[in-house]
């Protein structure tokens, strides 16, 4: 089990009481996200889809590395790692 810091982007801070960083425990990125989801209702739904997979256009970075180019949610989290969440931003005219 590793301790990691998760950086919360502004659009997701309404789910974290305004916190811009959270400390989590987890051996993998998926475990870290699951812990976030347990502590902050509604947050996980903006990151993962109903099957528990990363939503399209959401990006998770461990340090400088996009987990899509590693092992996805199974990517290992080293002690002291920093995980950045990049939210999906979309819309359009009627």
């Amino acid at each position: 089990m590793s301790h990691a810091t998760v950086r919360i982007p502004t659009p997701l801070r309404s789910f974290t009481g305004g916190a811009d960083e959270l400390r989590v425990d987890g051996r993998t990125v998926g475990e870290a996200m699951a812990e976030l989801g347990r502590a902050h209702a509604g947050l996980l739904e903006r990151i993962l889809d109903a099957r528990g997979e990363l939503r399209p256009f959401v990006r998770l970075f461990v340090g400088e590395d996009d987990v899509r180019h590693l092992d996805g949610l199974d990517t290992a989290v080293a002690e002291g790692a920093v995980i950045c969440i990049v939210p999906a931003v979309a819309g359009g005219r009627p």
Binding site: P9, T10, P11, R59, C84, A88, A90, G91, R93
Partner: protein, 136 residues
């Protein structure tokens, strides 16, 4: 209330005009506190929705990350998202609402072949968009 510096407003209008008839999008960087959103810089981002570029935008997450990191290094944060509505008013659509987040401003710019039209800013509260005052 959202405050947008005149110089940044001019930059934004140029991007929206030159992007027409496609939608253009990007981020508003600055600080926000107690209902006052102080924009210090606007950034442009790529629209990854090429199939429906005239009526949808999907902001490139790599552009988001780069803007966020630069903002953080300069003591700012992402305070809003801007996009254009080609040939439509600056009111949020259902696709805007369904993808939106609370806690950030949504600045919409109307644009047509005649040029840039109105700009209006909105914030999501309890799944409903409310307009906020915009000052340049």
């Amino acid at each position: 209330m959202l405050h947008l510096p005149r110089e940044e407003l001019g930059t934004l209008r140029d991007w929206v005009r030159s992007g027409y008839p496609n939608e253009t999008c990007g981020l508003l960087l600055g600080r926000q506190e107690n209902g006052l959103v102080e924009v210090r810089r606007v950034d442009r981002a790529r629209n990854l929705n090429r199939e429906r570029a005239r009526d949808r935008y999907q902001l490139d997450p790599l552009d988001y990350l780069e803007s966020e990191r630069r903002a953080s290094a300069e003591g700012m944060e992402v305070v809003g998202i801007w996009h254009s509505h080609p040939d439509h008013p600056a009111r949020p659509s259902e696709s805007d609402r369904s993808a939106a987040y609370e806690g950030v401003s949504y600045l919409i710019v109307s644009v047509s072949a005649q040029g840039v039209g109105e700009l209006r800013s909105w914030r999501l509260r309890d799944e409903v968009f409310e307009e906020e005052e915009l000052r340049a």
